[in-house]
Amino acid sequence: MDMLEIRDSHVYIGQTYVLKGVSLEVRHGEIVALIGANGAGKTTTLSTISGLTRSRRGKILFRPDPDTTQRDITKAPAEGIVKMGISHCPEGRQVFSDLNVWENLLIGAYLRKDKQAIQSDLQWVCELFPILRDRRRQSAGNLSGGEQMMLAIGRALMSRPRLLLLDEPSLGLAPLLVETIFEMLEQINAQGTTILLVEQNALMALELAQRAYVMETGQITLSGTGMELAENEAVRKAYLGAT
């Protein structure tokens, strides 16, 4: 059974009809990529899942673990959705620049009460991204773009999500750093976190993901395994720079 299921979601932002009946599924343990041109509605899809944006029609269903019951989170408040195990790492990093690195990580664990486990998760995040430990007293606003990205991912992990929503982790980063971050994502996934990844860097995303969806102007137009889509003629033309 699916972990996350979006059924025919219609979303308006102000007067703009942004999502025109989006349906997609994420299964337990997967990395699923969502690719598409600028303005297609990828970010909106993620914020509809995490409760920042409301859908006008459609359903969002979530099952944290394979043996738990499915819950309807369509109308749940954002803070309730975090609690259920979905963590949204927003577009453009958006770390709290008034907080230092350590506080940013701690606030990721805001809803948790298990002090000891929080400490061990801090260790875990710092093993993934050692730079964060070195910079822990520094204000997050003074970090480089790459460091902020790592902090944003680390912060999102601190809630111990079952499902991690990532919005363009490669945005504005040097290719080498993007490699590193994608390797980390693979590790995070291997350690049991399911990932829904929005990416402009379609090539890398399709390589990493087991399955992927292509979105155009508010609708899902293609879906398949990462490999299938990477070989798809239309995808190659539109997103992989093939001629």
Partner: protein, 297 residues
């Protein structure tokens, strides 16, 4: 002459303490929901009358009254946020501003209706009226109480905001409402808390105001509200340390302006206040300690 200046500086410290307390609430509320809360000064008035009521009604000691007035102000702030500002959330900034203006007028007129516009004498127990002399300067016990209470409250606030989980949530919410929600922070609670703390401090400032000037009336909130606004802007609106700094600078500046220039200028003190504001903003558009970033849309 040195004694005279020292005395004026002391007066500035007292005035600045009250401005700072009111400015903190102003800046906290702005910092978190970008609301210029014109009704904030009227909480000062409510605090003053609440104090008077408590003093008249029984033998409650002043330290207890401080706590009760803080709670009273806080509840008032929560109520106003809940009924007036929360429904306006997400509306353009000017809508909130107009709403706050309406609340201000409402509170003032309710005050006049219930308490009449007649100024009332503010009672202080005798021990607060005792005058102490330190060399050339003298001060009343109540003045000392004002400064000490203000400083203690400000230390508490800074510790709360800097070092507690709740304070961290408040800073995060002030920086980015949506991302704060993604962390699981209930922003309605954080916003309510900002109103509660800010209004509680304003209530206590009202108690001080009454004690310092000896008379209170339902319109007294206007002046501290306006001055606190100026103090908050000078310090960098949104910044709590900025509000404290701005409050004290304004207190000192105002008192020295009146004290050092010939008496005929003293009626220009408010002109002085606003000239200072304009000059500071010309040089530092974000105030003294404000963030350099552009206003978020």
């Amino acid at each position: 002459m040195d004694g005279y200046i020292a005395q004026q500086l002391l007066n500035g410290l007292i005035l600045g303490s009250m401005y700072a307390l009111v400015a903190i609430g102003f800046t906290m509320i702005y910092g978190i929901i970008r609301l210029i809360n014109f009704a904030h000064g009227d909480i000062v008035m409510i605090g003053a009358f609440l104090t008077l009521g408590l003093v008249i009604s029984g033998k409650i000691s002043f330290p207890v009254i401080i706590i009760l007035v803080f709670i009273g102000g806080a509840l008032m702030g929560i109520l106003i946020e809940r009924v007036a500002f929360r429904p306006m959330r997400g509306a353009p900034q000017v809508t909130g501003f107009i709403t706050s203006l309406a609340i201000s007028i409402l509170l003032q007129n309710l005050g006049i209706l219930l308490l009449t516009a007649q100024p009332r004498n503010f009672f202080c127990p005798d021990y607060l009226q005792t005058i102490y002399h330190f060399g050339p300067v003298s001060l009343r016990a109540i003045d000392l109480g004002i400064v000490v209470t203000a400083v203690v409250l400000m230390i508490f606030l800074v510790l709360l905001v800097r070092f507690t989980r709740l304070g961290m949530a408040m800073r995060a919410t002030a920086e980015n409402l949506n991302v704060a929600r993604l962390m699981g922070i209930n922003i309605n609670h954080t916003i309510m808390l900002a109103f509660a703390i800010g209004s509680g401090l304003a209530g206590v400032a009202g108690m001080m105001w009454g004690g310092k000037y000896g008379q209170i009336d339902p319109l007294l909130g206007f002046v501290p509200g306006l001055k606190a606004f100026v103090a908050a802007v000078i310090g960098g609106v949104g910044s709590i340390p900025g509000a404290m700094l701005g409050g004290y600078l304004l207190g000192f500046g105002e008192v020295l302006f009146v004290g050092l220039l010939p008496p005929i200028y003293s009626s220009y003190r408010d002109a002085f206040v606003f000239t200072t504001l304009i000059m500071i903003l010309l040089v530092l558009p974000n105030g003294l300690l404000g963030r350099k970033t552009e206003e978020k849309a």
